[in-house]
Symmetry: C2
Subunit: 188 residues, 2 copies
Amino acid sequence: MPPAVMPKEEVLRILAREFRIWGYDGATLSRLSQATGLVKASLYHHFPKGKQDMAQAVLDYTLTQMAEQVLAPLRKPVAVDWLVKELCVNLAAFYNNGQLSCLVDVFSMGSAKAVVGDQLKTGLALLQSEIAALLVRGGFNETTAQTRAEHTLVVIQGGLIVARACDKPEVFLNQLNALPHQLLAPVT
Amino acid sequence: MPPAVMPKEEVLRILAREFRIWGYDGATLSRLSQATGLVKASLYHHFPKGKQDMAQAVLDYTLTQMAEQVLAPLRKPVAVDWLVKELCVNLAAFYNNGQLSCLVDVFSMGSAKAVVGDQLKTGLALLQSEIAALLVRGGFNETTAQTRAEHTLVVIQGGLIVARACDKPEVFLNQLNALPHQLLAPVT
DNA sequence: GTCTATACACCGATAGAC
DNA sequence: GTCTATCGGTGTATAGAC
């Protein structure tokens, strides 16, 4: 009987989890091998350039997931107020209620930055512009929309960091709860 | 002539810089050795348990610096509004205008968490309680003060992450600029 | 307190069988 | 597509001279 073939998407999910826990430099091939159940040589079959390829593929996969699960819903023809709240719900789910580190954090540090830094910048910019577009739809001017979208990114990242450092995922959820009010408040 | 003795504080400053750039797992002894100008054996003289001791000492040193440069000024007998603004100025200086990663981020990931995680939690809790105390002095109730202090931590961490990921330190400064208004807004 | 020299485990990476 | 086996390099850590 030939060895079971692991679906690539499952491999990517596991790799993503490891990178989020250990960071790029801390995620050794041994750990990645053990976590996936594939020996190092098998990983190199899927990712010829090793960890660099893995990080790129993981980031690619995760950005796609984000686009599908968090960004796409924002384009629905529904009241903006409602969509902002849905955004927060989807963000909570995406980060497993504050229990997952974000790749924006993990991949902007140490050796990872040279490997996937540009890809990361693009992804972040897209996220910001999509949120800003939503706020423009909600009647805010471009400047306000951009500022508040940027603040949203900050709150997501900061919420996840503080939640992780304190072992209190609620911190992230609290921030998400407060977000709609901040995003939708009238300009003074 | 005996080799020049490097002051321990200078060593700690350099180690802190390396940990902030590379993270705990990415900061190898070779890098730390090169950055300090001390060979590995010399580092082990100062820090018998190696990287673990270095991380603890660096965190200790940095928390002290934070207490002196950011927290102590908050106790001055001056208007709270003024102190909140001074807090933001001092935070900007402490993080070199958004160009430095925070150890809260760096040391809550990967192997570092097992080494200095508890120390980190204590430091974060202190920072939050000092900011909350300031807001209580400003007339806010305990709950509001705690919530806003937590939000402050979130904005600091998030601002630094986004600034780092985008290579735009301004993001952090923008967040600090907006902070006094958020902290001092009347409760609705 | 700093150095040279060294030990040995683990890292990333590759060759080649099935 | 997965495996076993192996390589050179680097990682952490220590012994001992000055």
